[in-house]
């Protein structure tokens, strides 16, 4: 019981004694609250928040015209309003005073307390501290969100199945860059050709192909792929298995006995693939072969897929080798 009494008395003493702290002399001169400036500050924070939110909206609404300009405008305005808000704080709301002598060196006893007091007294003119803090945090937070929002476009974070899907299945027609069906006779040796799946989204990662024709005698395709290259016409996924760039270089020797062998090369990091041996890596950072698409020549001479890719298309990530291309 006496323990309870002691606690109550101690509490009362603490409560009463709290306000009786002897006040040290002020460091920062007192200033009058400025509600007008505070209102301007709140409006500026709100404008900055709206502009930053607008940037996120512009980024999310992909189809509007002049998107880049609107993005730049909204982000720029968000920063400008924020800067204006800081100017208002600095000029009209925080009591400023120039020190005659430099700050005392850190670690000096009492310095931390002095700095705390400085900060506290500087903020004395704010009448609605919590509101201002929340508005400021809202503006800066929304701006931060606007800056990291584009990361969403890096790709699906959890559902990776769409990467394994391709438009290819048996009988699917190949079309050239111009959208017209590709015929076997169009494919000449010493040149290389881009192709897509007919009636399919060209942006799909499994759609673009690169086609080359090699002499049948030079082919050394892996077992099971003997009939994948009719007349020596080979089709590979155009997307490099390293970082997903487009295979855009065809290394074609003019005089094979003395020159490097034919190769499909990615211009980004020079991954070099051998079309004669099923897309195996000759050089570069790619870790797995270029997926090959089996071809067949239809009666009318057009090129058609004879199945799906030999492996997963697109850039590599953890576990990609275990996946299979699906239609």
């Amino acid at each position: 019981m006496s323990r309870f009494k002691d606690t109550v008395i101690a509490g009362i003493v603490l409560l009463l004694g709290r306000g009786r702290r002897t006040r040290e002399p002020r460091i920062v001169p007192p200033g009058r609250p400025d509600r007008g400036a505070e209102n301007i500050l709140l409006v500026l924070f709100a404008c900055s928040t709206i502009c930053a939110g607008g940037a996120i909206a512009v980024y999310a609404l992909d189809r509007i015209g002049n998107q880049t300009q609107y993005l730049g405008l909204s982000l720029g305005l968000a920063f400008a309003f924020l800067a204006a808000a800081f100017v208002v704080i600095g000029k009209r709301l925080v009591v400023t005073e120039e020190l005659d002598e430099p700050y005392p060196p850190e670690g000096h006893p009492g310095v931390q307390a002095q700095l705390d007091e400085l900060v506290e007294e500087s903020g004395e003119r704010f009448t609605r501290k919590r509101l201002v803090t929340m508005a400021g945090a809202g503006a800066i937070g929304t701006l931060g969100l606007a800056l990291v929002a584009p990361a969403v476009s890096l790709g699906p974070a959890f559902d990776l199945r769409s990467f394994a899907q391709t438009p290819w299945r048996r009988g699917r027609l190949l079309v050239g860059e111009d959208g017209l069906p590709l015929k076997a006779d169009d494919i000449e040796e010493n040149d290389f050709y881009g192709a897509y799946a007919a009636h399919a989204d060209r942006d799909q990662i499994g759609s673009p192909l690169v086609l080359v024709r090699l002499p049948v005698s030079q082919l050394q395709l892996p077992s099971g792929r003997e009939h994948w290259a009719p007349e020596g016409i080979l089709a590979y996924s155009r997307i490099c298995t390293h970082a997903g760039c487009a295979i855009n270089l065809y290394r074609k020797p003019l005089y094979p006995p003395a020159e490097p062998r034919p190769a499909l090369v990615c211009p980004c990091h020079y991954s070099t693939f051998d079309p004669a041996t099923g897309g195996t890596v000759l050089f570069g950072p790619a870790g797995r072969p270029l997926p090959q698409l089996p071809l067949e020549i239809a009666r009318d001479g057009t090129l058609r897929a004879a199945g799906n890719f030999s492996g997963p298309v697109g850039p590599s990530w953890a576990g990609v080798r275990d996946r299979k291309a699906s239609s």
Binding site: D191, N248, Y250, E259, A263, V265, P267, Y270
Partner: protein
Amino acid sequence: MKRFFLFAALVLAPPAAASSPGVVHARTGAALYAANCAKCHGPTGEGLKAPSLRGVGERAADFYLRTGAMPIARPGEQPEPSRVLFSQRELRQLIRFVGSLGKGPPVPKPQPAKGNLAEGMRLFTDHCAGCHQVAAEGGFVTGARVPPLEGVPAVRIAEAVRVGPYLMPMFSPRAISNAQLDSIVRYVLTTGHPDDRGGWGIGELGPVPEGMVTWFIAIVALVATCMAIGKRFGR
């Protein structure tokens, strides 16, 4: 920027490429061929340690000899544009002689004035920019250097497209028609003298050097402005 790439090319080039063989001068095409070419290409152009020249025509000979890519020190080396060591008269004789080794295509006559610049850029982007870069500045492919195309005359460009020298693909008139070739040539000639709207092309290499300019010039200007503002309003 050009200097830098020249330097990079020199550093990366294997030492063999640096040694250019001298040529033997002679009065007739046959004598020039026998002294300078026959060792690798064979006395009658049948090809011993190098491609056969029968049927390549004056087109290929004109390209390799007038760019200085031939002769090379040993077969298998990359034939690269270099100083032409033959005289103009010797070049004419030798080209005519190689053309007479077998029936082959003549020297093409591109007409870039008839080409369409926009179509040329589209075709160049599709077929050539992978190696030569969209600004025709050249680059690398594994196993070879890709020459820049600045200052290359129209006829050489047309020849290269049709011949496909070294590791470059060969484009037949079915893949790239003569009219399309005119457009490509016109585009390549334009890349030599681009009208830089901003006043400075910065190597025509795209966003990386442009970003560096932003950092080294714009940031310095911004910091200087900030410091000036600080001085002006500090008190």
